[in-house]
Symmetry: C2
Subunit: 156 residues, 2 copies
DNA sequence: CCGAAGTGGATGCCATGGCATACATTGTCC
DNA sequence: GGACAATGTATGCCATGGCATCCACTTCGG
């Protein structure tokens, strides 16, 4: 017996996914702004650049499922604040290699502590290790599939 | 033995959550725009109004974890297109009761078919019923906790 | 009742992102 | 090697959302 239809289950999944993401992202952003003067999207870019030094704009756009323009402007804002620089790309004069400055690296390190603390406060008490692992595994599988299919990446 | 630290697990959970939400939300929005001329946030509002006729602005703001202003403007756009109306609230002259028009109701019904189809295409092949249920249950629990604590709701 | 505080929502200003476009560099074909 | 397509990014315009403010109505104290 199928007491609930598959579409209905997926609708609830989507709704809960969107609401959780919105609230967590907002909460993380509030704290990062208050304690470090950055917003959540900047934290994500900084963390990405720490883990992928010399990244290019298009690469970040596809990871974040954002448009090229948005990332380009985001990098502008990081460089304007002295947290990253655009190094000329010796292999291709059209693109730059983006790298963190020392200030940027120091900032991510501090901001990540705040980030971890917020997540621990907000999800730690609610999801035990098992639930977290189950949710994380489903989301990781979904993410891989969506990325492989290039789903939901804006044009620009 | 804890082979992976709890903060690291939560970081990955957060990242996967955000990436999945972004891509799914974008993909749903693309289709809704192409087939019905609405964006994803409008679809969510329409669906909410269908399920909660006579809703008020503040109520929608807290459900969607959005600011009052954003919802107020969103309702403006729905009424401008003839999909909803603001009925005077007999119990409180400051607020309105928002209700779908017949056009609005027809639109949600059609758009929801598109929505279901997109979700079926994008998550159906990747997550079997069990994974989907596990993910949905973790997200539902997290959502309840975040909503109860009023986490991540913008000020305005 | 009257005034003051409180509450619900609308509006204005600004920052951010999508999309279209423009520009520079690279690759390709002859 | 020179024209032409393709690629990578930057820029401009517009729509949307956050936040601060403002206005209307309601509630509470006397």
């Amino acid at each position: 017996m199928a007491s609930t239809s598959a579409p209905a289950v997926r609708r609830r999944f989507f709704d809960d996914l969107v609401r959780c993401e919105t609230r967590l992202y907002n909460a993380v952003g509030e704290r990062l702004r208050a304690e470090h003067g950055i917003v959540a999207s900047q934290f994500e870019m900084l963390r990405y650049l720490r883990d992928h030094p010399g990244a290019r704009v298009a690469e970040m756009a596809s990871t974040f499922a954002a448009g090229i323009g948005a990332i380009s402007k985001g990098v502008d804002r990081l460089t304007a604040r002295g947290w990253a620089t655009r190094e000329p790309n010796p292999a291709d004069g059209r693109s730059s290699l983006i790298v963190l400055t020392d200030d940027g690296a120091a900032l991510v390190a501090e901001a990540e502590r705040t980030f971890d603390r917020v997540l621990a406060d907000l999800v730690g008490p609610t999801l035990d290790e098992e639930e977290l692992a189950a949710g994380a595994s489903a989301l990781a599988a979904l993410r891989r599939a969506l990325e492989a299919a290039r789903v939901g990446v804006p044009t620009g």
